[in-house]
């Protein structure tokens, strides 16, 4: 009688099958992470809503025409100068801040602006209003929004480094990792209220 050996299972084709699946997943995979500029829309106002009267000097008017040109506070401007202009407007600190829950925030103690009389009173009063034409290119519109956000993040960063010796982004990150930490929460809240992002979109012109 011949010696019986343990029959071996032929696994040679296993690699082929696995490769087949692997290639399928390789092809269907999309690696890109979705990212974007987040915005919160304002709620729909009730029919009888009367908008509050805002002092002219607290509004920073940016309008984009259908040729993708920028008009800032009545003057033509290039997109690359927009960030600086927005910073000096928001950070002006020329007057009293708004009254919150009966407590006046007083003049801006952390602003480093010119404290000019014709520019904004306080970062929490400063409103950036963006008006665009219906035919404005979306790319330009988003670049403008991005520049304005850059201005705010510059200011927030500066204040954060000054007070807590840490850039605001890192502060926010560490808060995200550790939501229970009250101390971090207060810090993030403080910076956010110091420079609230008030960017409003106007009805477009035709």
């Amino acid at each position: 009688m011949a010696r019986r050996e343990n029959p071996e299972i032929n696994a040679g084709s296993m690699a082929d099958i696995a490769f087949l699946l692997l290639i399928f997943f390789l092809v269907t995979t999309t690696m890109n992470v979705d990212s974007g500029v987040s915005k919160k829309l304002s709620e729909k106002p009730p029919a009888d809503y009367v908008p509050p009267v805002i002092k002219e000097k607290n509004i920073f008017e940016v309008s984009i025409n259908r040729n993708n040109e920028l008009l800032v506070e009545g003057e033509r401007m290039d997109i690359k100068d927009l960030k600086e202009a927005a910073i000096s407007f928001v950070d002006n600190g020329g007057g009293e801040g708004k009254v919150e829950n009966g407590v006046a925030t007083g003049p801006c103690s952390y602003c480093k602006g010119d404290r000019s009389d014709d520019s904004s009173d306080h970062p929490n009063k400063a409103i950036i209003s963006v008006q665009s034409d219906r035919l404005t290119e979306y790319g330009t519109y988003l670049t403008v929004q991005d520049e304005l956000l850059k201005a705010y993040s510059f200011l927030r960063n500066r204040l954060s480094v000054e007070k807590y010796k840490i850039p605001f982004e890192e502060l926010e990150e560490s808060y995200k990792d550790n939501r229970a930490n009250e101390n971090l929460k207060n810090k993030v809240e403080f910076i956010k209220t110091a420079y609230p992002q008030i960017i409003s979109d106007q009805e477009p012109t035709n």
């Binding site: 696994a11 040679g12 296993m14 690699a15 696995a18 490769f19 699946l21 692997l22 997943f25 390789l26 269907t28 995979t29 999309t30 690696m31 992470v33 979705d34 990212s35 974007g36 500029v37 987040s38 915005k39 919160k40 829309l41 304002s42 709620e43 729909k44 984009i64 665009s132 034409d133 219906r134 035919l135 404005t136 290119e137 979306y138 790319g139 519109y141 988003l142 670049t143 929004q145 991005d146 956000l149 850059k150 993040s153 979109d201 477009p204």
Partner: protein
């Protein structure tokens, strides 16, 4: 000496037993990272604008995507202002129904965290985006994200 010489003749086979393991490892990696594209694009893949102040979109299941761009099908014209909802070209008026439909798929508690991501081509016009935005406001879908690629300075 002849005793030893008898044993082996020809090349010894390379042991490839570990190959499937390696391939499987890669396979699992790709299986886990894959997100299947749910909708097929009816418009040309939008050329996203780039921005620096971008935030990552978290919780993929809470994100609904609206595409804006040029339709692949020539019968819809050549402008970059066509809106795609689900698998077909639609108008801004159909946005509320689309959002409500998406809302029905998530639990009540998560509805306030739902984000609408607008993937629009750089050459689309702001008017189209604003039409969508007004419709979104009507159904109280207030969190939006303008999809943009990260620009490094």
């Amino acid at each position: 000496m002849s005793k030893f010489r008898k044993k082996k003749k020809g090349m010894p086979a390379v042991n490839t037993a570990a190959l499937p393991d390696i391939v499987f490892m890669l396979l699992f990696f790709f299986m886990v990272t894959t997100t299947m594209r749910e909708t097929s694009l009816q418009i040309d893949a939008p050329r996203l604008p780039s921005a620096t102040e971008v935030k990552k979109l978290e919780h993929k299941s809470l994100v609904t995507t609206i595409y804006v761009g040029k339709a692949k099908d020539a019968k819809y014209g050549t402008s970059y202002n066509r809106i795609q909802l689900n698998d077909k070209i639609a108008t801004a008026d159909e946005v509320p129904a689309f959002i409500i439909n998406a809302r029905s798929k998530v639990s009540e508690a998560e509805v306030p965290f739902m984000t609408t991501s607008i993937k629009a081509d750089t050459e689309s016009s702001v008017g189209t985006i604003i039409d969508i935005r007004l419709k979104l406001r009507d159904v109280n879908a207030l969190k939006i994200s303008y999809s943009a690629s990260k620009k490094t300075e």
